[in-house]
Symmetry: C2
Subunit: 656 residues, 2 copies
Amino acid sequence: MGGGGAGANSGGSPAGARVPVPPARPFLDTFRANLKETFFPDDPFRSVVRERGAARRTLAALRYFFPFLEWAPAYTLGAFRADLVAGITIASLAIPQGISYAKLANLPPILGLYSSFVPPLVYALMGSSKDLAVGTVAVASLLIGSMLGSEVSPTENPALYLHLALTATFFAGVFQASLGLLRLGFIVDFLSHATIVGFMGGAATVVCLQQLKGILGLERFTTSTDVVSVMDSVFSQTHQWRWESVLLGSGFLFFLLVTRFISKRRPKLFWISAAAPLTSVILGSVLVYLTHAENHGIQVIGYLKKGLNPPSVTSLQFSPPYMMLALKTGIITGVIALAEGIAVGRSFAMFKNYNIDGNKEMIAIGTMNIVGSFTSCYLTTGPFSRSAVNYNAGCKTAMSNVVMSLAVMFTLLFLTPLFHYTPLVVLSAIIISAMLGLIDYQGAIHLWQVDKVDFCVCMGAYLGVVFGSVEIGLVVAVSISILRVLLFIARPRTTMLGNVPNTMIYRRMDQYTTAQTVPGVLVLRIDAPIYFTNASYLRERILRWIDEEEERTQGKGEMGVQYVVLDMAVGSIDTSGTSMLDELKKTLERRGMQIVLANPGSEMMKKLDSSKVLELIGHEWIFPTVGEAVSSCDYVLHSHKPGVVMDSAAAHENMV
Amino acid sequence: MGGGGAGANSGGSPAGARVPVPPARPFLDTFRANLKETFFPDDPFRSVVRERGAARRTLAALRYFFPFLEWAPAYTLGAFRADLVAGITIASLAIPQGISYAKLANLPPILGLYSSFVPPLVYALMGSSKDLAVGTVAVASLLIGSMLGSEVSPTENPALYLHLALTATFFAGVFQASLGLLRLGFIVDFLSHATIVGFMGGAATVVCLQQLKGILGLERFTTSTDVVSVMDSVFSQTHQWRWESVLLGSGFLFFLLVTRFISKRRPKLFWISAAAPLTSVILGSVLVYLTHAENHGIQVIGYLKKGLNPPSVTSLQFSPPYMMLALKTGIITGVIALAEGIAVGRSFAMFKNYNIDGNKEMIAIGTMNIVGSFTSCYLTTGPFSRSAVNYNAGCKTAMSNVVMSLAVMFTLLFLTPLFHYTPLVVLSAIIISAMLGLIDYQGAIHLWQVDKVDFCVCMGAYLGVVFGSVEIGLVVAVSISILRVLLFIARPRTTMLGNVPNTMIYRRMDQYTTAQTVPGVLVLRIDAPIYFTNASYLRERILRWIDEEEERTQGKGEMGVQYVVLDMAVGSIDTSGTSMLDELKKTLERRGMQIVLANPGSEMMKKLDSSKVLELIGHEWIFPTVGEAVSSCDYVLHSHKPGVVMDSAAAHENMV
């Protein structure tokens, strides 16, 4: 290379030799820009602001909050036909699932039906997903059951328990809507994919284990959810197992799994698995009715009240001592439910290539739960299984939710007596078959192959849920995830860059075998923002790079390190970072080395300037590219004046 | 640009057109390498491993754990003379400060002297800093006082209180040493510079306010530390203020501040401020002795037992209910003390250009506290003020600690009766004058100028300590700091890159005004690792960039976006990140755009490969530099075959 070599290369200075320091902007401007970038990255009100006139803007704002205003005017008969089919299909799934999941939350079965009536209507008005099918979910139901059940017994005090579940739903809704309104939707992102795989798998395992009670026909059962307690409870009362129950349960489970297998093989036959739960319920009920099996140890649902949702505003509990319990339950289950709903909405939006505004979705889901808590519904969201059926059934808009809601309304008004003889063991079989689909063992294998740490997060969540409790699993997984991010920030990778022969390009020496070191110049790249968590690590690591390089060159009798070029391409720095550079500069100066910075961004230049580090290092030692930085060092070295700070303009003239 | 333009540029392909996928390494190898990089970044055993033979290695290991073996053999009389002066100087500071800080922790004053005798000896053997002067610190003393005092009254149950303080010291030592042994020293780094400025300032303010009791001569005083309670306590009993006490206190405070001012102006006169506290103590004691002021409302220290530290192993409390309190106090105060000790050691090592191994220091500080807790010493570390005096007094090695320790021993054996008449108000003046130096208002101004968020962290810590409690301030500051890191990871900056005319270089368009867009190609740069916390944000942000660019070009009638080039220079990716790229690729494909990656690192290539995203995007769409990536897209565009995937080798031949 050398000065001459650099001169021959046209890829020299991009914007003059100096990296510009951006002009100072008023604090409020910067603050506003940062606020916007943090909380409104998707610029949601673009469509509103673009309109002119108050009336048009109001209409645009209404369209923003009520997306049905957008699709309803152009709604066609063809779309309705598709939504009708999809809506009836998901209703046939919603009814048995609703009853089953309500049992899982230790709530009256009728609540499951109530919850499939009002919330879907709200979502149809406010939701922006075309494929989400609203309903209760197994994991959140289990969580409500275990969290509330730890303090209030659902058998001894069913009224209080019910009121707390509704209050928790209310708080969950308020929390979800607030997250959306405050644009804090990114909190949901802290549940990583790995966390969700492990957590869902663990929750599904736990739910399946709970169903052993129904399948084996046991009357007493542990209230704990961990595998040890459950197994102990199951095997300590083997004499209580009922063969009738086991037979019936296994039979229906087999039937359900076979239909699932068929639908998975041939997606066009989706309706086989979609209709299977309702078929099982009808078959099971008829069977019990005909054989009077309810007198032979087969437990049945029993009496279900006819009629629509009774209002429940006055049942909400806003006074101690139980309010805090409901609040805690609401926030935790709300986040879990939200995470599932948002993820499902996003996935299907991606398939059909439309956009979903996460924060807007949160407002919709939150509102639907608030309204739900006023009308005897417990926590709902967009479950994956039901939405997948909706999607496969060819739904076009949120109208399918309205159809489902009307079908459930019809059931509530006229058909509830039919469920009197439905055996609980069939519900257990339905839950198990739905849960087995949530155990994503292939996802776990994929995690192991791609990223071992993510696999640990996943297993942490899984084992935490299975051997501890749902809450413990969640805490374990979120902690490992966050620790991982912090550890990454605390221990960023630093790599030595080498020159790619005959170019001005510098690349990682461990990756590109042809890259070569430049004598007397050590080029390092830092792969993370320089923050308080890594500032002292980076100082030590950079000094170790220098020591190692000095040892290596001494061994070979080459020129020692005269210049340390840091590739600062990575965005950000804080005051601990600027202090670190300050100290590093002084330390290197004492060792007769010059520190050189390449390619710092505008924000970093601003902070280097305001912290006076720019002055200390010297603006002439900051270059837009690594190539230029090294050429400049190299030029000084080759003119036999190592360590002499030359005028940068002169250096630049010589170079280009 | 165009294909021809690119061909004319010599800065083309660095390592062939393909970015290599690193060969698969056995999991254990990678794991071991990562472990080493995370926990042993400074390669501490280099010197041990390099030696040959068991005997030499043992000696090297001993030298590693007992650094005095390294300097003692070469210790000279000249160095001893310097250490003697420094040691006596810091002893004259240690004696009054020790007594004062013990009062701050509500412990018997004699404990402050004990704590300046044993721990410095241990540190002299094991510590690697040449400048650290060991002793008790104000903030940790206050914390011990407030944490233990909240459950056990030091006046009603002094024996239990003392035993708990010693037990807390033991746990602090064990925790500190474990952090060092487990190489978890980086935990201390989570206390950022801004946190420490705010926290120390707040603690100093609180400590000063507490001294109003002594200065005003009050007998009753609040046990809370927040400013509201203290002010209430002070102004509700104005009739109890003693003018004698106020006069004496203000006089000595003025004297101490003047000496501090002189020493700050002329660092050579450091001994004036170093000797001032002892002078004040002697003057104050003489004054009280002559005027019998102890009978006129001036409180004095009273009887101090002669003799060296009594053993206290049997006093440690390892049984409930108080063990958990001691454990909690020990861990929190241990971390705070450690942070100060490590920071002080590092700062002075930087001045004198030698290295300090943080983890080794932690073992030394931890051991000194464990041994201390066996010999009636409470928590010690390396206080900044005392170490600064040590440094200014010209200390050469840790021998100055030994000299100080011997001077304190002499005091304990013969001079304790002299402190009988020392007025408490002088101790208050000494504490205030030391604390005022800890309120680093210039540091806070610097934070405001450089980084507003850091300033918020700092003020959060300060206000938390002053208006809440020391613990609240600490929790607030650490939470804001960590939230900030997480928010940074959740909202990375994305910027559009433009081509610098006549080069192959691409730079941020908002920073370099000359940079130009290439028609049909959108080049984006992501300023953070792609992690679960930002994956969905990045997907949405990238899509918004594309939408905006499409709108812009449509308005001008230019070519729409055909290629999206992502500059992946930033290091890392996890499974959520690879899924995001997977989804992004599919979404863009549906819109007829091609995704192109530039400059991914080896680790990223490995993960892209194992997650099959590499296959999906196509290895031919991954380039070592942005320049090459754009040239390749440009070539396709200009041969009028947009969207056609061409053979990469052919493209490469055409280009270079």
